[in-house]
């Protein structure tokens, strides 16, 4: 078992990090891989929503998250962080955007900073899988399903009724317990209150 590196401290990412990095096929080897990712991260910070091949998108997402978390943790007065931002953002005006726009935007968030969605796929096509990578809080219209929770859908109506019954039964039981206790204190009887089996919901047993 290897010792963890203690020379550096990093914030925890809010996304799932796979154990192994993905190889992005490149003629220049590991250096070319980083170059590719630099371009993607720069594009993401610039346009806030981009469409990519899935493997590159998944990999670039981790680097973008790390970059933003480093910027939030150390701020713009920290020399190594500035170096990192300078290396990763190919267009230098984006460094200002990172520290002045993105850091205030994500400073108090409890979730991850980016979103990765699967792009629609042409069936039986031979194209690679596409994903859409975006920064949260971007000005574009929302992607994905935007279904409103409808109270009048049949499952919601049924569940409302079940909830009412369940709560009533629960309160009744509570009341009974309290009464029993009082009786116990009064008469010092040693009868254990019978535990009623809780009514299970139809919906639950089905699903």
């Amino acid at each position: 078992m290897n010792q963890a590196d203690v020379s550096k401290l990093v914030s925890k990412l809010r996304i799932r990090v796979p154990a192994e990095p993905r190889k992005l096929r490149n003629i220049k080897g590991p250096e070319g891989r980083i170059d590719k990712l630099r371009k993607t991260v720069t594009g993401l910070i610039k346009y806030e929503r981009i469409e990519l091949n899935s493997n590159r998108g998944q990999e670039a997402r981790q680097y973008a998250e790390r970059l933003i978390s480093e910027a939030i943790r150390h701020g713009d007065c920290h020399k190594p962080t500035m170096d990192i931002a300078d290396y990763w953002l190919l267009e230098k005006e984006l460094i200002h955007k990172l520290f002045k726009v993105l850091v205030p935007r994500f400073q108090d968030s409890n979730t991850c900073y980016t979103r990765l969605l699967n792009a629609p796929r042409i069936i039986h096509s031979r194209n690679p899988d596409k994903v859409i990578l975006e920064l949260k809080g971007n000005p574009y219209p929302v992607l994905g399903s935007n279904k409103m929770n409808n109270r009048f859908l049949i499952q919601n109506v049924l569940l409302d009724a079940a909830k009412y019954d369940y709560r009533q039964a629960k309160y009744a039981e509570f009341a009974k317990k309290i009464v029993n206790k009082e009786e116990k204190i009064d008469t010092t009887e040693t009868e254990a209150p019978s535990i009623e089996k809780q009514q299970s919901d139809d919906k639950l047993t089905q699903s």
Binding site: M148, N149, L153, Q155, S200, T205, Q206, S207
Partner: protein, 355 residues
């Protein structure tokens, strides 16, 4: 038109004949056991309101709590079932999770590598006596009459009922339990039967006992002969071209001019059930239900599930009566049990006496 009719009738006959010939050869090879139910996650796409989601969570947590409060049914039944353990009886086993390995030191200063197995929330789900137990079809003819062992279903790790299918959930509902993530059968002697809902603990086994462990090995994918079978390969140089990691010859000529069955060749490696027999238990933690077993050869990666039962090796079989039919839950247990060969970390430094 007539021609067409004739053709059609011929074709129909052809098809029927075809099916008849197929069905004559067709035999039932595998039928899943009757307690097996598919356990695929239900796709959750009902547009529930926030309030109703909360309600479902509340119901689940309530039911979970009520299950936690249930006490072991052994408390009532143990008094009148005073069955004796014999060397021929088979007890129920446990479902455990492999959580890693680390060294412990023995009393003579030797380092031993151990594997940690955590027994997570094990409950007896059901016992099927041998008369009622009708397992899947097999090629053996008189197998069913010989069978004298009952089937005990044990589940581990309670899960959210809304994440499993109705069939799978019903299996547990019929006995009044919440569904478990892992369900496993153990063949037990009728006298070792346990009532539904009995919790099983790591103390089911004692320190110093030997157990067999069945688990799935690490999936390594398609591998060549050097990794899969340990072949030597061929030299890297000395005029060798294009055949450094290849198997070489796979058969001879003459009458045996074919590839013999069982020849070691490249193929899928790992992800198959394997049993490691006669593993010694060195240490037991009763608080977290963890077993320390000797060696690192327990199949599967960290986090894999494994099934533990008493060993069948003749020389390592249980000598004295273990907790039978299982460990009877009681308070005031020591947190740790150590085998006599293990040096506990809380003991003072080892010293050797001059001889």
């Amino acid at each position: 038109m007539d021609n067409l009719k004739v053709l059609c009738s011929k074709l129909i006959k052809l098809r029927v004949d075809h099916i008849v010939t197929r069905s004559a050869k067709f035999t039932v090879k595998y039928r899943p056991p009757h307690w097996y139910a598919p356990k695929v996650n239900v796709v959750k796409d009902d547009d529930l309101t926030q309030d109703n989601m909360q309600f479902i969570k509340e119901v689940i947590s309530d039911r979970n709590d009520s299950q936690q409060e249930l006490e072991s049914p052994l408390v009532q039944s143990i008094s009148h079932t005073s069955q004796q353990w014999l060397p021929t009886t088979r007890r129920v086993g446990l479902i455990a999770r492999k959580i890693g390995n680390y060294p412990v030191w023995s009393n003579n200063g030797k380092k031993m590598q151990t594997t940690l197995l955590q027994v997570v929330d094990n409950h007896v789900i059901k016992y099927i006596p041998p008369e009622e137990f009708k397992p899947m079809l097999t090629t053996e003819r008189n197998w069913r009459e010989k069978r004298k062992l009952g089937c005990m279903l044990v589940g581990s790790e309670t899960i959210n009922p809304s994440t499993v299918t109705k069939d799978y959930c019903g299996l547990f509902n019929s006995v009044g339990m919440l569904p478990k993530r892992h369900l496993r059968r153990f063949m037990v002697s009728p006298e070792a039967a346990l009532p539904t809902g009995t919790p099983l603990f790591a103390t089911h086994f004692r320190v110093g006992d030997y157990i067999d462990i069945r688990a799935k090995t690490i999936d390594r994918g398609f591998q060549g002969v050097m990794k899969r079978w340990g072949f030597k390969g061929m030299p890297a140089s000395h005029g060798v071209t294009k055949t450094h990691r290849r198997p070489g010859n796979i058969g001879s000529g003459g009458e045996k001019a074919r590839v013999w069955p069982g020849t070691k060749m490249p193929g899928h490696m790992g992800n198959r059930w394997r049993i490691i027999r006669g593993v010694k238990i060195l240490r037991v933690n009763t608080k977290y239900n963890v077993l320390w077993t000797l060696g690192v050869a327990i199949p599967g990666e960290t986090g894999a599930m494994c099934y533990l039962f008493d060993t069948v090796l003749p020389l390592r079989k249980l000598k004295s009566s273990p907790p039978f039919p299982t460990y009877f839950p009681s308070d005031d247990l020591p947190v740790e049990y150590y085998d006599e060969c293990v040096h506990p970390f809380s003991d003072p430094t080892l010293t050797f006496e001059e001889t």
